[in-house]
Symmetry: C2
Subunit: 399 residues, 2 copies
Amino acid sequence: MATRDLVQLEAAAVDPPQRLLLGPGPSPTHPRVTRALGAPVLGHLDPAYVAIMDRVQAMLRAAFRTTNRVTLALPGTGTAGMECGVANLLEEGETVVVCIAGYFGGRIAEMAERYGARVLRIEAPWGEAIDAEAVRALVRSAGRVKLVAIVQGETSTGVLQPVEEIARIAHELGALIMVDAVTSFCTSPLDVDAWGLDYVYSCSQKGLSCPPGLAPVTVSERAMAAIRSRATPVRSWYLDLTLLEKYWGPERQYHHTAPASMVYGLHEGLRVVLEEGLEERWSRHARHARAFWAACNALGLDLLVDEPLRLAPLTTVRVPDGIDEARVRRELLEQFGIEIGSGLGPLRGRVWRIGLMGYGSTAENVLLITAALASALRSQGARPDTGAALRAAAEVLSS
Amino acid sequence: MATRDLVQLEAAAVDPPQRLLLGPGPSPTHPRVTRALGAPVLGHLDPAYVAIMDRVQAMLRAAFRTTNRVTLALPGTGTAGMECGVANLLEEGETVVVCIAGYFGGRIAEMAERYGARVLRIEAPWGEAIDAEAVRALVRSAGRVKLVAIVQGETSTGVLQPVEEIARIAHELGALIMVDAVTSFCTSPLDVDAWGLDYVYSCSQKGLSCPPGLAPVTVSERAMAAIRSRATPVRSWYLDLTLLEKYWGPERQYHHTAPASMVYGLHEGLRVVLEEGLEERWSRHARHARAFWAACNALGLDLLVDEPLRLAPLTTVRVPDGIDEARVRRELLEQFGIEIGSGLGPLRGRVWRIGLMGYGSTAENVLLITAALASALRSQGARPDTGAALRAAAEVLSS
């Protein structure tokens, strides 16, 4: 194909505009991470690459607060992390209790059904917390339950679910506990070993502020023992943890060609996280979220979730009556280059999803999204008090 | 965690050495691709990102020589492309004929067994071609065969298999044909529509010279019809083509967070391929391979594969008697920064795998690997005629 044909394909060089990503994800990539992406690609057996994998594992363990040997980055997005857990921890006919209070809980249930598990659902309305006592009652009455699964930070609703309590119940009743930490990892308190979590997965974007494409996971020895004693092989070869542990472990047994550039980005993203400190990072997310919530309150905007349940990195803001939801998003994108998210499922058209995650969780972004949102509301005839909102935010930020 | 703890983790900034990747993969990343990786990450619903996806699809179709609507990049390595085909095209109890003449054919068979298919193997010794008549006889005798699967360019052996002929047989007998083009895509003749291939997958590295991490795939309408009429859902949600087609199609139905940086790299890699022209690219790989083969001959090195069957991007060189295979690789890496590969499976210790792929397939790399290999052989007491080898290579290069 000659250059002329390429012109017909309109394949100019890729030149995406700079956006400020304040939606449910991806989050803004940290500039140090962006620079790391360009480091020279190595083969996965190169001693220099092996050393990088080892450091990534060590830093992931620190970020997950775990000593789990099987702690690694899957070559896929956060959804691959979800599927890896379902595919490895469940065999056909085994029972899983899935806590569903939003889109991603529903996705876990759908995956588990595809893999032939018996799926028992504990549901809560979108925007509310799962009732731990209901989980206890269901697991008790369900016969042998292999796994309890829950999404810690539901990106579809903005709720931080009571994972620690649900994990305790799962263990009391002899089940394993799988936690979706896609949005909560490195943004909200998460303590894998102290809480006894058996399988936790996340993504490389959001809290880590790397580009999307890798899924950090950590697996307890108890969960690995259950996987090793399966009666049937894991259906997925690509996501089989008994193969992946030999690839990331001292055996270095070939499994897949390492996505080296993404792993370099993850390495740098983890360095940024650990330099800041986990608790400092959680506090930063909480502080900027509280400032934004105060601003919303002053703008007269209602939030979907009651404050004690709110997820710091992702806020669901109710769309006021008479406001065109999509037009607000379009104006933010076109006038200010800011991306925010729309609602999913039953919340479509009813909320905006606004993320202050990772590198995006800054005091200046709190002011900017407040001012931009106020501007977009005013252009539809609303009269929010922008000054009061910015003062409310600033008060929290300086406290 | 404070900076002091980070130091204990030895987590210095990632700083991989520059290697010349002349093994079985990854191949050297094209510098234009490396620069594209750093472009700003966008959300997958951003109109600017949607336009980039459309251009990637159009360029992938051109590179695969297909009009297949379902042509896209999976968020995983080439192995995810393999698993996607097996998981979508086969249901439990269905029959697949797998052509196995190397490591990757065996991997397809193992995956198909995990998904519950009845797997019939046609085997050929490593380094030889699959016998098309044997495929015909087996498919004829096997009852209803859903799928025939073959690896076009076996990276474990360096053989280019007769895909066009096997595809014709599969169709005559009413089966679908799946082709692994991980190494052959953009390095060797491949004509998806003219050959009637139903499912073809590749990777972003090797012929495309992007970093590893994406799997370009193309799916015929006949294969999509078979997938849509499945009696059971695809086990893998992550790799379900009926979901992925709605994500890459005009529906833009949310499936996974786009690995935007990798997609930018793929976009640039495809531009480089199409600017050069597919046939020019195939010729370049063939010319540089022939030059290297001539050099090997002059060095007294035997090649595993008979010339008519040889895969241009990857040559398997027999280790001469009395030469320490691993020491040669170590010297190439440590003295010259050149990575080559060792043998897999029955070829372990018996061959080197030397790749001249994508951006790595250059006249200067032919001279360099020839001279470096000669040097490493001499350091073990062999007395190859380096001058003659370089002259033999140069003669082909200038012809």
